[in-house]
Structures are given as C-alpha cells and as structure tokens.
Assembly symmetry: C2
Homo-oligomer: 570 residues x 2
C-alpha cells in the first residue's frame, strides 16, 4: 500500500495535485476534504456565468470533455476519495493527523497522513463598512453567490448596481451586468485608477474610457463609507463624494489567503497570512505541501515574496505538488505575474511590473508606449495594439510589458513571449527589438509592434527623442494659453487641415510637408508633435532636429492613444 | 561630413539599414542602388494582392502610415539618395568603389564608399523544365509578376492554374486564386507532403485536407516534367504521373540567394552562394555588411549555418546593420526559424525543428501532438488548437513546436513564447509544462494547450503511455482484419454508440463506462483507444492499466485530429 495523503481544499490545486499523484503513484491512498458542496469549479468563469455567456452552471464544474467533477468522478475515474461539506479544523503535526468536522452533521473525526497538502485558497476581503450585511451585497467568488446574482439579473430585479473595487473580477462583473443585462453599473475604486498596480495611467485611462463609453460610471479615488437599505435589502451606496442608488452591490476589493489552519499548526506564514513554501512547494514542515491562493510565491522579477491568486498558477503548482507527492522532484520557481482581462471593446493584458510599481521597488524605470497595427498594414483584417514596455534606465533591463487591443488573442501573442523571457533570463530592450516572432501578413507585421516598442524604448533611453503621454499632451493643449506650446499635427495633410479649421492653435504640417515648411515652426517656443500612431511624429522630431529645432516632444501612440483615453481637441 | 555609404538593394533590408543609419548619424552620405523600378515593397504581400484582399498595389510600396516609399520619399524624409533601375555590377574592395550600370540608359559610373551594404536579396529558383519560357508562367516574387497574375484573374482568363511547389508562397498563391477568383488550382510538390521541412506528417496532412476540402487538388511526391502550350501561352503541365490543364502556372520552388556580386568580389559565400556574415552582419571584409535574403545566418538550435529568407528577418538585420554603420555595436545572433501561413480555414505556425528534421540532424527526437480548446471550455468563443512539440528523448530538450488552428492570432500566441525561449535558453519539456502565460477565460484555458502539450510530451517520454498518430490509427483501423486490434471509442457514450451502430468492430466504451466495463476489453489483443481530443483516451489508458490491461495505445489529438487529416471510420 502506498502513502496516506490528505488534501485540504477542492477547487483548483487540490484536485490537480491529487490526480497527478494518482497517475504517477496509483497505490496512493488520497482523501480530499472540502468544506463546500461544489468542488473543482472554474471560479474564474463566474463573471461569464453571471453575464449569461456561460449558461450552464454545471459546465463550471466539468472537465473540458464534459465530465462533471463531483466526488464520484474523482473516486471512479481518478481513484481517490472526496469528502465535501467537511472542514479540516486542526493539524497535529506530531501525530501526523488532521481533525475534521462534517458541517452538515457536526460529526468530528481524525485522519492520519503521511503527506498533507494545504489548498485552502483565499477568501474575498470582507466589506468592512456599515450595511455590508444587507441582502444583495455579494462578493461573487462562490458559485452560490453567482447563482443569486444571475437570478436577480434574470428576474430583471436590478436597475442599478455598484461594483466596489476596480480590479479584474470587479470589472468583469461590471461588464457582465451592463453588457448582457443592461444594468446601470457604477464602479467605485479607492485608488486613483482602475486596474491599479497592473496598468500604467495611460493604459488604465484606456480601460476607463472603454467602460465609460459603454455606459459604466467609474469613480476612482473614492471610498465607500456605508451601504443603506430598505426592508433589509441594499438600496444605496454612500461614498465620500456621492450617493449611488443600487439594488445590488458586488464587493471585490481583493483576496486574503486562508492561512489560519497552517498558522495554527505552527507553519511559517507571511505577515498577510499566506503560507510560505519552497521551490518544491513544501511548507516549513517538509511533509506538508501548500499551493494556490493560500500561498505566497516568489516574484521572479523583484525576487520578493508576492501573491498572485490565479487559477492558472494553482494548476501549475498542483502538478508540481502531485509529482513530488509521488516521489518526484519537480519545482515551481515563482511567477512573473501574467494577467489578462477583457472589458467591452478592449482587452488588456500584461506581465511584470508597471513603471510606477517598478519605481516603488527602487528601479529607475520608465514606460514607453507605442500604437501599431497587429498585422501587415496591407492585410485587410487588423487592429491597433497599444503596448507599453517598462524598462530600467541605464541597464536597459525590461521589467514588464502591458497592452491593449480589441483582439485578445493578438494581444496575448505579444505579451506571452516577453513573459517567457522574464521567467528565464533578464531581458534587455535589445532582446525585444530583435525578438523573432512568427510572421506572415495575416499574423503580424514584418517589423512587428512588439519589436517596435523595443525600438521606441531604446530611442527614448538613448535620448533620441522626448516623449509625452497622451494625458500630458492633453494637459499641454488644455493649458496652451499658459505654456506657449506650438502644436504640430504631422498626420496626412487633410486630417490635420480639418482640425486646424476648427482650432487656430492647431498647426497641420504633415510629415511630408515638414521638410519644406519647417521654417514656420518657431524656435523660441516648445513644440509638441502628434500624428496618428506615433511613427510620423517620431520622424517629424528627427526631421526638425536636422533643421536645428530641438525643443520638441512627441506624443506616444499619437491620436489613437489620445482618443483611446477619451481625449478631445477642443 | 560623415561616411560615404553605399547600399545595394532596395526592398526590405537596404532601406531599413539606410534609414536607421541616417537617424543615428544624420551626416552620413548614403546612396542606395536598386536594379528595379519598384523599391521598398512588401514582397510577402504579393499573394494578398493577387487575391484582391489587398486592392491597391501602391499600398505594398507604402509605409504603414500611407506614405509612398519612392526615391523622393527617401530623399526628402530620410535624407539619402535612391537610384532605381541601376545595377551594381562590381565591387573593387581595394579602391573601395562600386561600378554601376543604368539599365535604362546603359550609362556606367563608379562610386566610392567607406562602408558598403549588400542587400541583394534572393531570386526564385528558376523553372528548370521545358516550356518554362511560355507566356503565363510566373514566379510571383516581383510586383510586375503579381500585376500580370492579378490582371489575368480579373479578366477571368484562367479556369485552371497549377502551382509548382507546396511551400509558403505556393500555398498562399493557391489559396488566393481558388478562394477569391474561383480558379481550379492544382498544387504539385516533389516531396511527399506539403510544407515539407516545416511540418510533421500529421500537421501537413491537416494542411492538405484544408486545401483539398476547399477545392484545391494536391499532388505530392510528383515531379513536373514539362509545360506545354499553344500560341506561346502555357496550356498544360505534364508531371511524371499526369497531365493537368492550366492557363496559368506559378513556380514557387524556393529561393536562391543573390550572392554572385559578393562572390566576384572575393567575399566568403556558402556552397549555395549565400553571403557569410558574423554577428555584426559584417562579411569577410569588415567594411562590407550584408543581410537579408542574400545571406546565410546561424540556426540557434542546430548551431549550423542556415537560410531563412523572410521579410521579418531582413527588417531585424537591417536595423542591426544601420546601428553598426553609425558606429554602434549591435548584434544579430541568429534565428530559430519562426514561420506562419494561413490557408483556407486553418492557419499553421511553427518554430524550430520538426521531429523528422531533428532526426536528420542527429537528435533522437519525437513529436507529441495534442488538440485542445484555446479558451476556457465554458467561454463561448473558442477554437481547437493542434500543437506538436518536438522533443529529444533522454535530455527532454525542446527542439521545436508547430501547430494549427482556425484562429491565427491564438495559434501565434502559443508558438511565439516557445520561440522566445529557443532564442535564449535550451528549454526542456518542464519549461513548457510550467510556462506562465496570460490567463483569463476569454484568452486561454487555466491549464492551457501550451502547458498541456508539455505535459503530454513528458508522459510519453516517461513511458506513461504509448501513442498513435492519427495516420497510424487510421492505418490500424483500415487493416483491422490483419492486425487484430481492439478499438475503443472513449468519447461520451452517445457519440460512440452512433458510430458503433454502423461499425461492429468499433467499441463504444466511454471513459465513464470503462471503470465498470473494463472486463469487456480483451487482454490477448492489442488495444487502440480514441476519444474526441486525446484527453479522455489518456485517462482511459491509465484506467485500463490499473486493471492490468497494458497493451494499449491511444490516438493523439483524438477524433478531432483524425478528422482534420481527412480520416474516416468506414
């Protein structure tokens, strides 16, 4: 007979580790405990279940080949026991036993183990304001909550909803409710931007504009003070700036690792309560493994312990734990922090650090933005991709990349190669400039946007041009009576002329025309150049420089980025 | 005054190098010569111009921001001279001069240089059979030929066309003519598969099936003997197996590097005539650079000199040369061989070696195929992706990956991260199993197909299962009266039952049922299991093994791969 193995937690990592172990060591005796009724569900699918995109709740609990992952599935197909509605209440490391309590019957029991796996996951940060116990206030991380929200949507019981928290799940839920059910949704985020920590200000402004132009109100830098209700049901959300009517509130302000069981057993945990593990996913007790949302894992870019509660991470770690339970020696070295989210018309995706986070971590970092078509310009189907490469001055080290596109797949195709490099080497800007990627006109441009952003970053780092973010360009334009800037539109002449007709301070001098009209450009004023995507304006900067006009900045991503953040020339 | 620089060749690399150099060292005096009238065109767009997808020939000669790249563009905007219709006939390395001949006037001239760049490109391998001088026989690599082909298409003068050569350009041209213009197209390929050298037999059979099921005839292992005509125009193609009527023939049997000018000047060239360069893209004469389709470059996987005439390579190398002309020290380390091609409903993409090529190069290599959805299974939009990972036994080193999907972008997103790794490290199967890639349901599966193919390869390398290619499964089925195999369909019971009703040798035992019905499976016969995508059949293999039934193979990629190669159970 093989080892006795106990797994605590049955969502993503627990079943994965158990299945893997049973494949490699079929004589193992594995028992998996979960305190809930539903196990092994795709938690990341919940917003899509709410939206109605995913119609069958059971699909979230099924394998990709339509097998329901219930206890009998794991017993019959995988050869291990699953006990649901059963909480593991304590670990006795000396005796190598766990104590359990059946939440339906109250029955307690003790089970011995040779190896133990903690996959206790995370819980949503609780709503810590008055009124959070009102009916129709949800955290949307369990199927039960998703069911209730979907039911309210289908019953057309909700005119207005508030989402507290502008992170991934909050925004996905906002999109689901607004797009599919026509609900008036407001997002309230305490930080000064949506998707804080994972997007630069500019990309975040693009996300905000996508939300706002599709009817979602976004209130950033705003704190929820309380929720008020009638008949026990939520009716409004009160922030430090306004009151918002709401028949439904979704709280999604982050996750807290469920590390208490580990902590009580004397295992090492971080100050936030996340279980600390080594590369083999062992806790400070080598017979106890842990992984998934309850664990702290190493950020491979900063080399600090970090926290990334994602199903994709849990799956990879689960396989490592399963291999090691079966006597192998697999390792999980850490994470680089890939993520992705689709809003209305725009998808966002990234990896590594933003320039802001990088500076907080002590890097002298900047972000360089480009906009470019994701296919050969002569190929009929294509979308604009915005990419921002985060680089360290001096070393030219690449610390992260984030982007936006209407095409989620094409965007992922640009982010993931950089993620692969960040996992294994310390890439530099030159590695991005010369990155070899699959090319044919229906797939990419010969000088692809990913190479272009490397080139642009190098040009900025080498001091070949000075750049403006779209927000900075907008601010310069709005304050033009004070700053005395001279504005050049380097787009094809017709496009610029049309705007100049309305705005006398706007100077339409196409890139082609600059060669002959450069004398019109004043040398005693600073100059700001914009074009459609940033390519022409860079050439314009170089052209002006050849004529001795050097106090010139150009707007990264051009009018496309400018319009994507909701900018207007008026 | 800066250096005098002469660039020979004006398609992709030449202009790129010149532009880059002018940006970094604006006082350079650059002259670019090209023997053709059109310069700086997107040669890879020609099939899309033929198809009509790209309607404006000028777009192929334009920048992504709609500027025509003609000599005046380069003079006015980039600050260097371009002389078209001018051939460089000789290099005098001692005197550091080149001799030129104007092809319109016959005028000869001599120009001095400090640095010289050879960007002489490649020419199509000539049609070396009788009749190749007939009218309407093209090679489709110059805009002039593309014009003529498009004109024939638009005039509806072509009922039937033959494409000789089943490589990228040949297949793109076949698709363009059949899809957009309804021409009956036949592809004749000397090797025993289409896309030889870049796809495994199985993926190549998928490409063939995509072509054939969209009306293109594919004749592989077949040699063109001659072309015959009437009134000087081509009318038929005669192969060693048949005669094919054709009013148009496109010859695309590969490229030959234009290395003669370099060779005549005493520079080192390969036996095939490609110019040899170092990491700085310098030829054996350090004052002479070369790059693009006329050059041999290093394959970073085999460390051998190789040849990859792609516009994307030329662009990257051009930037390196431009930097070095301006006094920098950029390097181009080599290539890993990324490629991509879109046919009718399927796109194909890959990097590195196929298993067959790897074995030729001395690696003990196998290819492992999986089929899986490219998104979370509960997300409504998704496509099946087929990926084949090429790995070396023993070391578990990853040598390449190739794949197919209806979604070109999603496929590229799986290939390019592996390409990035191949450029910088010697990746192993574990690096693919644990690859961190951006995840959210609209982008990927939590355990994504790229990780799945790593896992599958590991299972095969560790001897946990024996696999069949779809072709092998088909052959076993077709010869079932001789080989005594027992066939199990592990798909959901209904799907298998429907097939079993027609085929008594087909045994529908779903994965769920195997647990109880395993006693039906004979132990004295070999067993072949198939399911929908290969996941269930792998579980079925493990389940049977737990009951002592081990002479079992499962079909990689399941019925999806089987159907994609045109397989039928009959």
């Amino acid at each position: 007979m093989g080892q006795k193995i106990i797994v605590v937690g049955g969502v993503a990592l627990g079943p994965k580790a158990a299945c893997r172990c049973m494949r490699l060591a079929p004589d193992s005796e594995i028992t998996l405990f979960d305190e809930n009724t539903h196990i092994s569900y795709g938690g990341c699918g919940i917003p899509f279940f709410v939206s109605g995109d995913e119609d069958n709740e059971k699909d979230l609990c099924s394998t990709p080949y339509q097998t329901l992952r219930d206890p009998s599935y794991f017993r019959d197909m995988k050869g291990f026991e699953v006990k649901t509605n059963t909480r593991v209440t304590a670990i006795d490391r000396k005796a190598k036993t766990v104590t359990t309590k059946n939440l339906l019957t109250g029955e307690e029991a003790t089970y011995p183990y040779d190896k133990l796996v903690l996959a206790t996951g995370a819980r949503p940060r609780p709503a810590d304001v008055p009124g959070s116990d009102l009916e129709n206030v949800f955290t949307l991380t369990k199927l039960e909550g998703a069911d209730a929200v979907r039911h309210l949507m289908e019953g057309r019981k909700v005119d207005s909803a508030v989402v507290v928290g502008g992170g991934f799940i909050g925004l996905e839920a906002a999109v689901a409710m607004a797009d599919q059910w026509g609900v008036k949704v407001s997002v309230v985020e305490m930080m000064d931007q949506v998707l804080p920590g994972v997007l630069s200000r500019t990309l975040s402004d693009m996300a905000r504009h996508d939300l706002e132009s599709n009817g979602v109100s976004v209130f950033t830098g705003e704190k929820v003070l309380r929720m008020e209700g009638a008949d026990g049901k939520v009716a409004k959300v009160v922030t430090d700036k306004r009151e918002i009517a709401a028949q439904l509130v979704i709280y999604s302000t982050g996750f807290l690792p469920n590390g208490q069981l580990a902590k009580d057993a004397g295992l090492e945990v971080t100050s936030r309560g996340a279980v600390i593990v080594n590369e083999h996913m062992q806790t400070s007790d080598p017979d106890i493994y842990a992984g998934g949302d309850c664990c702290s894992i190493k950020n491979l870019i900063t080399n600090e312990q970090g926290y990334l509660p994602l199903g994709s991470m849990a799956n990879r770690q689960g396989r490592v734990i399963g291999t090691n339970l079966a006597g192998g020696s697999a390792t999980f070295k850490g994470y680089v922090g890939t993520w992705a989210v689709k809003l209305f018309k725009k998808a966002f995706c990234g990896v590594g650090l933003t320039a802001e986070i990088a500076r907080k971590k002590g890097f002298d970092a900047i972000g360089v933005l480009v906009e470019q078509l994701d296919k050969a310009h002569f190929y009929p189907q294509h979308d604009l991709t915005a990419l921002e490469l985060v680089v360290e001055k001096g070393t030219k080290r690449v610390l992260g990349i984030q982007g936006s596109s209407a095409n989620p797949d094409a965007l992922k195709a640009r982010i993931d190669p950089v993620a692969a490099l960040l996992q294994h080497i310390t890439p530099t800007v030159e590695d991005i400039s010369t990155l070899e990627a699959a090319y044919a006109p229906p797939f990419a441009a010969a000088m692809d946007v990913i190479n272009a952003v490397g080139n642009a970053a190098e040009n900025v780092l080498e001091g070949r041009c000075q750049v403006l973010t779209p927000e900075e360009f907008l601010e310069l334009w709005q304050n033009r009576d004070k700053n005395n800037y001279y504005f050049i539109d380097a787009r094809p002449q017709k496009a610029g002329d049309a705007l100049q007709a309305k705005q006398p301070d706007w100077h339409a001098i196409s890139l082609e025309a600059i060669q002959t009209r450069w004398k019109e450009v004043p040398t005693d004023r600073p100059v700001a150049v914009i074009c459609n995507t940033g390519l022409r304006s860079y050439d314009a900067v170089l052209c002006l420089a050849r004529h001795g006009i050097t106090n010139v900045k150009h707007s990264m991503g051009g009018m496309q980025a400018f319009l994507s953040i909701g900018g207007e020339i008026k």
